[in-house]
Symmetry: none
Subunit: 235 residues, 4 copies
Amino acid sequence: MSMKKAKGGRSSRRQIAGTAPAARVRAAGTRGKTVAPSREARGMERREAILAAALDEFSARGFEATRLDDVATRAGIAKGTIYLYFRDTDTLFQELVRAMLAPVIGGIEAMGATDLPVNLLAERIVDLFVREIYETRRQDVIRLMISEGRRFPKLAEFYYREVLSRAFDAMRALLKRAAARGEVPGALLEFPQLIAAPALVAIVWSGLFERYAPLDVRRMVKAHIDLLFAPGRVA
Amino acid sequence: MSMKKAKGGRSSRRQIAGTAPAARVRAAGTRGKTVAPSREARGMERREAILAAALDEFSARGFEATRLDDVATRAGIAKGTIYLYFRDTDTLFQELVRAMLAPVIGGIEAMGATDLPVNLLAERIVDLFVREIYETRRQDVIRLMISEGRRFPKLAEFYYREVLSRAFDAMRALLKRAAARGEVPGALLEFPQLIAAPALVAIVWSGLFERYAPLDVRRMVKAHIDLLFAPGRVA
Amino acid sequence: MSMKKAKGGRSSRRQIAGTAPAARVRAAGTRGKTVAPSREARGMERREAILAAALDEFSARGFEATRLDDVATRAGIAKGTIYLYFRDTDTLFQELVRAMLAPVIGGIEAMGATDLPVNLLAERIVDLFVREIYETRRQDVIRLMISEGRRFPKLAEFYYREVLSRAFDAMRALLKRAAARGEVPGALLEFPQLIAAPALVAIVWSGLFERYAPLDVRRMVKAHIDLLFAPGRVA
Amino acid sequence: MSMKKAKGGRSSRRQIAGTAPAARVRAAGTRGKTVAPSREARGMERREAILAAALDEFSARGFEATRLDDVATRAGIAKGTIYLYFRDTDTLFQELVRAMLAPVIGGIEAMGATDLPVNLLAERIVDLFVREIYETRRQDVIRLMISEGRRFPKLAEFYYREVLSRAFDAMRALLKRAAARGEVPGALLEFPQLIAAPALVAIVWSGLFERYAPLDVRRMVKAHIDLLFAPGRVA
DNA sequence: AATGAATGAGCGTTCATTCAT
DNA sequence: TATGAATGAACGCTCATTCAT
């Protein structure tokens, strides 16, 4: 026997501070006069507790470095229980991403229907990104997509199909009308990615370099949009 | 987390197609009238073969999912040999990133010294990125930085310090002069990231969605630069 | 150093003769009308099975040469299971020594309280050693201490503090009274190790030379004690 | 990849202080006017340098924990060179023990031939042990025998046959004559180990507990011998 | 004879997954 | 449903031994 070196680190916390595991929450709730939640409701709560815990862990460590044990602990349940809700860790990861991004899809498409003047539109876009993504856990989900997406082609495809292509389609529709009014350069029609580019910068930057050089994301995104939609510009 | 059974059979191939392991190269070299490579030269060859193999594997699977065995096999050497050249996998990864990015650093700073009119400058920037990064393995290295950088703070710091901050400093110097001539909007001085944004988009996109929606990167980057530096724009 | 190929085939037997792995014991127990052992009880059984197996293997090969796999096999469990009970091999070893020696500690100190005439005392000492140590697995544990203690300073310290120093203190107390009665030579007060010396001889001898020259340990220890406490000797 | 924890410890000293590697010594010696040593002489020097280095390493770490690399470094030669002198690590260990103990054998037997009065004899025995063993590297060799001997039955047998049994035979011869003169209790004839017992205690104690409780070995051995051979004692 | 780069079997340890309770 | 003890395949890393130079 040759014993490896020091242990160090990710230790044996049986309960994680700053989180309210569904289990405890529910336990409290069930005791009062509130109606006992149905079996299905309980199941959904559990499921969500797991997803929440998984998001925390995946965000903190990345997919490969995450231990199912830690997810379970954080969710306040036993390890085996996770398998009652998700086939395996792969599935857990993919469902997490889907679950977090699904709600945005509708919102994005709705935007395509409006017909605002460019300056207002720009305002809206910035706001939407900052409030709905950058300042929420969705930022982490997108970062996960960026980091791990390559190993989950099905997930990448889902993300492309359900999120990106829809968002871009909506944008194109909208931009086309604005372009007809001469408010928008044609290049953006071909590369709507350019509109989203600073959002990507913000997410990647905040993950890697925030500590060396903090970034005022809202102002950066605003500046970028202003540059692209600069009034009196147009080709 | 590590899905128990790999999907695509990453089995026991003893030699991987499409690579030129140092071993084979040397075998060929020794046969001709060429002088047998010195020990040191052999060592460097080996070292590079390992780095090349590591880049392939890291790119294909990500750091955590990469198996040392696969790197060795791909490099055409035994597993233990890797440890003759790199202390551990951590070091291997970091050396890989450094080795690949070091050569660009000089080039970037050189650019800051020039004083071209904006339109030519834009051309140059696009070219530099496409030729030196996007069309080389450096694309993969930067993608690795983006994906794994969070778990390698030292590496992120290196990348920020040696690559990004220098590049941005050079850009700012250059933009300041152009701005003085009224060729450039001031916002770019504050957020040079915006100039690099489409490069990031290109790298992330090609990693995740290329197969669903290919992207003409050169044109996209060009379009973006043209938008930012649009003549007759300026505040 | 680890001689590349084992001499005696220590191969792939899945079960080792002469041991009663917890698994088999439990299987038998569960069949009868006996109550199925509680989880905790099972845990303790397992723990002890591991300790027993570890003692066997450590004794047979020494700490460094012992393979965790062999311990597991001998205990009738999977390798990973050991880690549910012991943090690592180091800990396993130390717990083993502590667990085996702890029970003797009390007995030793009790002896210091008695106040027998020397000849009876001598008898007692011999008996205690032979029955409680030499004829039990504790012999092996002490041999392990002797062999491996140097690489486990904490363990050596534990052994010194909890076993030796107590035993020697007890002896000194007792000898002092006997010396006052003129029954004991003063040198023994200064070097109580001399009383224990033949015990050490017995353990080392039986480990190394028993097969070439068996030793009647009980008689040897008796002879030694008689020599030291020889009546009518005294300075 | 998952990188194990901190390195720590047995590092990369390329040369070890406090040792005079044969290589360097020889190098110096060869340059002067001294005759260049014959090939065989060189070989013997090398061999001895290896044995010396091996003794250092084995003593410091035990057999299993010793790295051939460290032995080579300490001997000032390349790893592969060791194999020119010793078949494998096993052999190296065994030869080391033999080489160190062989010189004592003669001396021990010589002692059996003398015919001193017991008090002088006792003095001699103490002195012999302290000067020839306890204060030399042979102490380490014997400690190695004690610790590792079990895994080297051939070595144990050698030690028993060539050292112990001869020493005991010599002692018996000598004691028999003394016993005939009534100077020695008969028990010692049966258990000559008892005479050697404190030597064993000294070696084991100094290896394990010296730091907690230093031992005046010479006085202890003397005290013990005096007790055994106490004048006017005898059965 | 001497070197030291290369090898690859071997081991401790981890952790997703299973399954008896 | 829920648990968590148990499993065992997998992997990073080590190091005795070999062998081309």
